[in-house]
Amino acid sequence: MIAELRGLKPQQIAAAAFRLREIGLVIALGAAVVFFAIRAPNFLTVGNWQDIARDVAIVVVVAVGETMVVLTRNIDLSVASIVGLSAYISADYLASHPGTALGVAALIAVGVGTVLGFVNGLLVVVARIPAIIATLATLAIYRGLSFQVTAGDQVSAFQLPDRFLDLAASKPLGLPTLAWFAFAVAIAGSAVLRWTRWGRDFYAIGSNPEAARFAGIPVGRRIILAFTICGALSGLGGFLWASRFPNVDAVAATDFELDVITAVVIGGVNVFGGSGTIFGVVLGAVLVATIQDGFTLLRLSEFWKMFFNGAAIVVAVTIDALVTRRLQDALRRRRAEVLAARHAAAPPRPEAAP
């Protein structure tokens, strides 16, 4: 495929790159499904797929937020800590105020996440701390806050109202409720990224930050917005997490950020920002969850999952870089042809004086 790319015109390469990722993901997904279907007896059961759907759901909800951050050429490593903290706070509230409407509890979780995400944004934009470091620190800080808040305690399943636990258990129309949530968030996320001004600005900022500033886009404000949304969605993810894993303690959702970032990177969101779709991210999340599920069914060590995630990120980044380089080469070759043609058409008159 790389060799074929060599002969294409720049426009074709660009268009191909757009589609390549998603097609590749679908193909990979298909291959994985076939592979596991043959090897693992329970793979193609409805129950199994509902499990996968539940796993994917929470990843997708948070990944939509992470996508917005990565689009602007930043990253948020603290999402898992935000998920854990908001999971606990909302579950704890529900446990101690049993009559609360679920919507209120969700709002609490989202609220917590929003604040934490906003802080991330401030650190990156106002204090000019590189996102990787800032969110590495807040990953620890927010997790530490979890420990403070839980104070060694945990929320147990029996403390939570049934209607809350039902969120994770119920399957309206055969699809788990959690998946419906994820679906809704993905649709909303796509809509925002496509139809709102500030959503489009994320792409511009990631594509060319100086040009964005020059075009009058309020880059700082947008980046803070991206982090805030990511925090909010992480909060929502926390709410959903608590319903799925109702024994919520201080270490809830540890290492979850890796699943999210893997989905985002594999799903085709360029680590340099500027391009990527929610659809791709969803495909990425589904692919990752499917393979992990397959591994589990095959009783392979779950630790291959981490290795796979990491290797996938490296491969994805490498492919992105190589495709970009091919494009640059193609553009340069085009220019060479142009100049050669120009010279052939009207050679300048040489003035040689010995």
Partner: protein, 512 residues
């Protein structure tokens, strides 16, 4: 008012009021007058060419007009009112838009979105109105006679299309003065025709186009009015049809060469460097030349002619597609600057601030960077050797600084350039490639650098001098090679060279 035969008053249509007027505009950089008392006007609905050698002040004027840089003296009158263009946003609001060779675009977005970046058209609901943006973009593109689908991702567009995109962007934001800086460098003849047609349409719509180019044939074809600058000063503004290319050249270079350059006459030795058929796709092709020991050979040409690219390729910074090199008779493959250094080449880059020096480091550390392996047997640093080296060159080149440990960032431009030169001289090269060594440097330093170069040549060093300053080229060199559009088009000996001949060759015009 004129009166015709029937004694009726014939109204001669008066030219439209000028859009932009410059009155005595001046701008200096640390003692060097980049623009000196320039006055002329640009009227709407005209294609106004701005012509001059490199360093004539065109770029600085553009920066002043677009608010990137402020004028020191004089005033800008826009629409009849004296204005201060304080920043890029102000220029934009006034309808002044500049387009450079490498258009800044959002690669990952479509054409339509690039045009409307940051100011998307919105529907009544507040959402992005893609259809309207697409329609509007298509409309403007249609008016310009350009056939690009507004939904094309920009990433795959070539330079020509990106330029058209920029023009579309400018039009859509109601630009009134469009400044185009060397737009045709990377275009095929077909694309150039396209661009010209577009520019003419622009003009007919009342937009003023300030067209900067050294391609005099294009100027002749396209421009209504021509302004010629030389050494920062305004020389002439006249209707294009009143000027021949030869006259333009004369006006561009018509200066007296009374500046003395301390060039000694040197006995030129045998061939020390040979290049044959050097090509790098899109940048230069079929470049062949020889350098002799003790020779100073100038490489002249306009911006975009490929001179720096050739030097960089020879030095191993960029890859060569084709061609062969020999240093002192032995073949040489430039794979990296490190290798080139080892074979006796040295390259002083054009951008001394970002490429020539490591700004936060001291003079001695910068000066010793290229020869560090020799100064550090066993890999251990010996700072006293670096200091001694720095002191030696500080004295030899008369670098004004408090001590070798002063960081270069705090030195003046001229002194910084001397530090860069020190670095390369320390490497005791056989062939020294200098890329615009006295660009933006004060007169005193210029003289110092020239003196040093002459002295080195006399001692057997071979120098390839890339320069856009004709007096320097004529005064310092034994031979002049001229490049145009990536090819070597002329070779002039010191005796035969005149400013007109050099510029004529660079512009591809028969010399007068």
């Amino acid at each position: 008012m004129a009166v015709d035969d029937d004694n009726r008053v014939r109204r001669t249509p008066s030219p439209p009021a000028p859009l932009v007027e410059l009155h005595g505009v001046s701008r200096s950089y640390g003692g060097v007058r980049a623009v000196d008392g320039v006055s002329f006007s640009v009227r709407p609905g005209t294609v106004h060419a701005l012509v001059g050698e490199n360093g004539a002040g065109k770029s600085t004027l553009v920066k002043i007009l677009t608010g990137i840089v402020q004028l020191d003296e004089g005033e800008l009158v826009i629409d009849g009112e004296s204005r201060r263009v304080g920043d890029a946003q102000t220029a934009h609001r006034l309808g002044i838009v500049a387009m450079y060779q490498e258009p800044t675009v959002f690669q990952d977005l479509t054409v339509a979105e690039n045009v409307f970046a940051g100011r998307h058209i919105r529907t009544r609901l507040g959402t992005v109105d893609w259809r309207a943006m697409r329609r509007e973009t298509a409309r403007i593109l249609g008016e310009l006679g350009v056939e690009i689908d507004p939904d094309t991702p920009v990433r795959g567009l070539g330079v020509a299309d990106r330029q058209l995109l920029e023009i579309t962007k400018a039009l859509s934001s109601s630009a009134r003065l469009l400044i185009m800086d060397e737009p045709t460098a990377a275009l095929s003849s077909h694309e150039v025709e396209n661009l010209f047609a577009t520019i003419r349409r622009l003009r007919d719509r009342g937009v003023a186009v300030l067209y900067i180019s050294h391609r005099l044939e294009e100027v002749g074809e396209l421009a209504d009015i021509v302004t010629i600058l030389r050494d920062g000063r305004h020389i002439e503004t006249r209707a294009a049809n009143e000027l021949s290319q030869g006259e333009i050249i004369r006006l561009m270079v018509g200066r007296s060469l009374d500046q003395l350059f301390p060039k000694e006459d040197v006995e030129v030795g045998d061939v020390v460097f040979k290049a044959e058929g050097l090509s790098r796709g899109g940048l230069f092709a079929d470049v062949s030349f020889e350098l002799h020991r003790g020779e100073i050979v100038a490489l002249a040409g306009f911006v975009g002619s490929g001179r720096t690219e050739v030097a960089r390729a020879i030095f191993g910074v960029d890859p060569l597609d084709e061609g062969q090199l020999w240093i002192e008779g032995r073949p040489f493959r430039p794979r990296s600057p490190r290798r080139a250094l080892r074979r006796g080449l040295a390259y002083l880059p054009e951008d001394r601030i970002h490429q020539g020096l490591i700004q936060p480091m001291s003079i001695s550390r910068n000066a010793s960077m290229a020869v560090l392996p020799g100064l550090t047997p066993g890999g251990i640093l010996r700072p006293w050797r670096e200091t001694a080296l720095a002191r030696r060159f500080m004295e030899q080149l008369r670098i004004k600084a408090s001590s070798p440990s002063q960081i270069v960032q705090s030195l003046s431009g001229g002194n910084q350039q001397k530090v860069v030169l020190s670095k390369w001289l320390a490497a005791e090269p056989r062939v020294l490639l200098l890329d615009e060594p006295t660009h933006g440097v004060d007169v005193g330093t210029k003289a110092d650098v020239h003196r040093e170069i002459s002295r080195l040549a006399a001692q057997g060093l071979t120098i390839l001098l890339i320069s856009s300053e004709l007096p320097e080229v004529l005064g310092m060199s034994d031979r002049i090679l001229v490049m145009r559009e990536g090819r070597l088009v002329a070779e002039l000996s010191r005796a035969d060279a005149t400013q007109e001949r050099v510029i004529a060759a660079a512009a591809g015009v028969a010399a007068a």
